[in-house]
Symmetry: C2
Subunit: 221 residues, 2 copies
């Protein structure tokens, strides 16, 4: 049950977050000013501190939402894919990054000063959802038996538990992990402008790359 006060608070909180997101989308996380957010919703700068203890808390909220949005986008593209669901997911990952470069930078760019999200924090669990979104097509390939066997690095029990969560052998989890980090490498470099020297349109590069990856790992149907 939500009292009137709780509803209002929720609403204001959402309004703050929405305004912050709008400011983030143009200008980036570094330029996100609490004062600007405050005035854009007709509030005093000090008032924001009733809702967020500090700037990092607001950013953490945006990060959590960003991970969820990215994971959702990837999962949706994967499920709606006609051909290779894995390639579709990878392309969606890239598309989202290019369409929301500042949010992507917040997720995977330079981490906040020293701080690191605690194991149980909302951001880390949301982060894992993104990686997990790539698993189903890989699991399907494993069940089909087309998957190329992958070497499992020793002393990595975390990979085992990750695999167990999907009811898959560790080798398949290792392959999913490999696939995700490979995709991320290309996407992060392109999104942050380190591939500008490649010239005009890197889209065919990405597509060719993802298709080859799917084929080489034995994911492609």
């Amino acid at each position: 049950m939500a009292t009137r006060r709780e509803r209002l608070r929720e609403q204001t909180s959402a309004e703050i977050k929405a305004a912050a997101l709008a400011h983030l989308r143009e200008g980036g996380g570094a330029a996100l000013s609490l004062r600007a957010v405050a005035v854009s919703i007709g509030m005093s700068p000090a008032g924001l501190y009733r809702y967020y203890p500090n700037r990092d808390a607001l950013l953490t909220d945006l990060i959590t939402d960003g991970f969820a949005a990215l994971a959702h986008e990837v999962a949706q593209a994967r499920d709606a894919a006609q051909g290779d669901a894995f390639v579709a997911a990878a392309l969606a990952y890239r598309q989202w990054a290019l369409a929301h470069p500042h949010e992507f930078a917040l997720l995977y760019g330079t981490p906040i000063p020293d701080y690191q999200a605690p194991e149980a924090g909302p951001t880390s669990s949301a982060s894992r959802q993104v990686g997990a979104a790539f698993v189903p097509p890989i699991a399907a390939a494993w069940h089909r038996g087309t998957l190329k066997p992958q070497e499992v690095p020793p002393h990595l029990t975390a990979l085992n538990t990750f695999a167990a969560a999907f009811d898959l052998p560790p080798a398949v989890a290792a392959l999913a992990f490999t696939a995700w980090t490979t995709i991320h490498g290309l996407v992060v470099l392109e999104t942050f402008g380190h591939l500008a020297w490649l010239g005009e349109n890197p889209a065919p590069l990405a597509e060719t790359r993802f298709r080859a990856l799917s084929r080489d790992l034995g994911i492609a149907p």
Copy 2:
């Protein structure tokens, strides 16, 4: 010939850069304060502006140096390698990133607000040196004929010119590019703490991964 004044200026400039680098190594780029740098070398904050027009210029200098240092480290490890030079280079890339996380973040993390380095800028050419450091072992494998053929994405003339610079066919350049982005994906995720959930020691994961990459691409001798 350097006049006395030019020498002094050079010296002061280097001192500023060294102090800035020291501050960068603890605290990160976002926390790098011109005032702190100024007092640490016994200068007025305003005095720095005789040497750098603004904060970004100082950061640009640090970025250029960082790319050069990383490229040097990778090249050195590659040349000193006993076994697989490509794996050695990849491991050096990872080592440098983990040893200098803040500098690595400056190079490959969230880009400075809107600004993007001009085509002819010092940072972009220094950046390309890093990718180029991975080429020789791949070129050697090509000459040996062990290289796995790579699909060349269409409409990417830049890759052709890059290949021509090393006197290699475009397919080999495409493979080198693939290799670099793959390595980067794993390293950037680990350096920025997104692989913390993997637990204790991700080193064997990286080594296994790089060896497999070298083998699968046909680079390994």
